[in-house]
């Protein structure tokens, strides 16, 4: 009970309203999510429902209108390396090599606490974690989209964040690369036990990776429609899960929520 009253990360009654002149648009309405340490939580919803806005609020990149985000019971308002973000479009700095992109984060976060040699070792350790050490001297434009995203994950992990925020990290990748990266993220999560908040619009991805799935209704004024706990043991294997009744049931619940009860506005209009 004490765990529930003091969760690791708490999104507490968050409202977000955008004001353009006299016109105001409510994007998020009364969002409350509590995430425990080491938990992997996905937020799923149709595009335009404000799930990326929610992630930006947790990251501190967008201010809340009302409500608060609490990390270890302390309010967070501004961005910081304790909530590292893996951006949808990787956001690597193109003028730096793969190594330097990660090293920049390491130097900034551990500049005072780690020696030069330790920072080098930590940079390489994180590149090895995502299997990108071989390309450390390449520039972002010389590697594939999947590799860029791996480096983006390494950069975020290297900050040793309290919460890892993934903003549709695999959305721009082809299906095979995506599956490969999902397996990598699962392996890393199993090893490091990070607390992860992931935005996605992919049902299989959400069910495969998450401990809980937060389903959001359509905007404007999107709210939490349903929260589903995924009762699958870890480690999870893609092949075995395909026929697992619990997996199929969880998948069905999400699909039913997204396509039967809260279908995308564009789909409704098409009928």
């Amino acid at each position: 009970m004490s765990l529930a009253s003091h969760p690791y990360l708490k999104i507490d009654h968050v409202d977000k309203t955008y004001a353009r002149g006299a016109q105001t648009t409510e994007v998020l309405a009364d969002i409350t999510v509590a995430i425990d340490k080491g938990e992997f939580v996905s937020i799923i919803g149709h595009s335009g429902c404000g799930k990326s806005t929610l992630l930006n609020i947790v990251a501190g990149l967008t201010p809340v209108t009302t409500g608060a985000v609490l990390l270890e019971n302390r309010e967070v308002n501004d961005p910081g390396p304790d909530r590292a973000v893996v951006f949808q479009n990787h956001s690597l700095l193109p003028w730096l090599t793969v190594y330097d992109n990660v090293r920049l984060a390491v130097d900034k976060v551990f500049g005072a606490t780690k020696s030069r040699a330790e920072r080098h070792a930590w940079t390489m350790h994180n590149l090895e974690l995502v299997q990108m050490a071989h390309a450390k001297d390449k520039r972002p434009m010389e590697i594939s989209g999947g590799m860029k995203q791996r480096v983006g994950i390494a950069r975020a992990l290297a900050m040793e964040p309290k919460v890892l925020l993934l903003d549709e990290p695999f959305g721009a990748l082809d299906a095979l690369t995506r599956a490969h990266l999902q397996d990598s993220v699962m392996a890393i999560h199993a090893q490091l036990k990070n607390t992860v908040l992931m935005i996605t619009h992919d049902v299989d991805e959400a069910v495969l990776l998450s401990d809980r799935i937060v389903m959001m209704t359509n905007g404007p004024a999107a709210r939490i429609g349903e929260v589903l706990t995924v009762p699958l043991a870890r480690p999870r294997r893609r092949l075995e899960l395909a026929a697992d009744p619990a997996y199929i049931k969880a998948r069905q619940r999400v699909i039913e929520f997204l396509y039967a009860r809260h279908r995308a506005p564009a789909l409704q209009a098409a009928e």
């Binding site: 003028w95 920049l104 900034k108 900050m159």
Partner: protein, 299 residues
């Protein structure tokens, strides 16, 4: 440069595979030194020969137009005979005003270096402020848009009145001419920094100095160098005009002096020098730009 080499290596494999069918006997690829040098030479020739041909044709037309009685301008052959010492010996020094064009160009370049250097530092600094702050842009941009249209020569009397000396006046004219494109391009570059890079900086909590050095400058570098390249061209244009009026040593004053003593062939030689140096300056900045901004073009 690599393509012909790779093509040469690929050929024997292809011929070996198609040998049983005995369709076509491929010519064995040239190997060794000649195989590498000849393609390089031919690419170089493809670049050098066309402009040389054009130049030759121009000289012939010029010679035909001016090599007759009553022509107002000297023909190339006349320039060669009358201004030969200027052409073949750029670095002679016979007296305070009787020196080679190389020395004069160097004096002018020195002024450009100071004025353009100042313009670079101040232009990038001001451009950064304008690009970063909406209020600085609103306050400064309209004024800059008006000031930048003022001709370099119009600044000269004002700067002469202010500095009471020709040397700082000439440098000021260089500065004021070349600073505007640097400011404006830097500001555009800073304003165009993708939000993603700003987010990365925010998450990493980079301080303003780190943000400037690690995100702003590299991200805006292509824009900044566009401004710097326009700026070097403008300052080389301005120095000649400024020196014609301020006097002293310099390529601009040399032209004015030659005009006053009716040495038209000397003027033509000086024009060739100015064009050549201007071209080299532009190439130099482009070269530095290419070196510094490698990797920033695509993401």
């Amino acid at each position: 440069m690599n393509m012909p080499l790779l093509g040469g290596e690929a050929k024997p494999a292809a011929s070996a595979r198609s040998a049983p069918a005995a369709v076509i006997e491929l010519k064995p690829p040239r190997s060794g030194l000649s195989g590498r040098i000849l393609p390089a030479l031919s690419t170089a020739a493809a670049r050098v020969v066309p402009p040389l041909v054009t130049l030759g044709l121009l000289l012939i037309v010029w010679e035909m137009l001016c090599n007759r009685p009553g022509a107002t301008l000297p023909a190339p052959t006349k320039i060669w005979t009358e201004a030969r010492d200027l052409i073949v010996e750029p670095f002679f020094a016979m007296g305070p005003q009787d020196i080679g064009l190389g020395w004069r160009v160097l004096t002018s370049l020195q002024r450009v270096a100071i004025g353009y250097g100042l313009a670079g530092v101040i232009g990038i600094a001001l451009g950064t402020i304008i690009g970063q702050s909406v209020w600085a842009m609103r306050g400064l941009d309209p004024i800059f848009q008006v000031l930048r249209t003022i001709s370099p020569l119009a600044w000269l009397p004002i700067s002469l009145a202010a500095f009471r000396d020709s040397q700082p006046s000439a440098i000021f004219v260089i500065f004021i001419t070349s600073v505007w494109p640097i400011i404006i391009n830097t500001a555009v570059g800073i304003r165009n920094i993708p939000q993603d890079y700003r987010n990365v900086a925010l998450v990493l909590r980079l301080n303003p100095i780190e943000f400037f050095a690690k995100i702003m400058v590299p991200s805006a570098a292509p824009y900044i160098f566009t401004g710097l390249r326009i700026g070097i061209g403008l300052s080389w244009l301005a120095i000649v005009a400024a020196e014609m009026l301020t006097g002293g040593v310099g390529i601009g004053f040399f032209i004015w002096d030659a005009w006053n003593s009716s040495r038209i062939p000397d003027i033509v030689v000086a024009l060739v020098y100015i064009g050549g140096v201007g071209f080299l300056l532009d190439r130099l900045v482009a070269l530095i730009a290419g070196f510094v901004t490698r990797g920033t073009a695509a993401s």
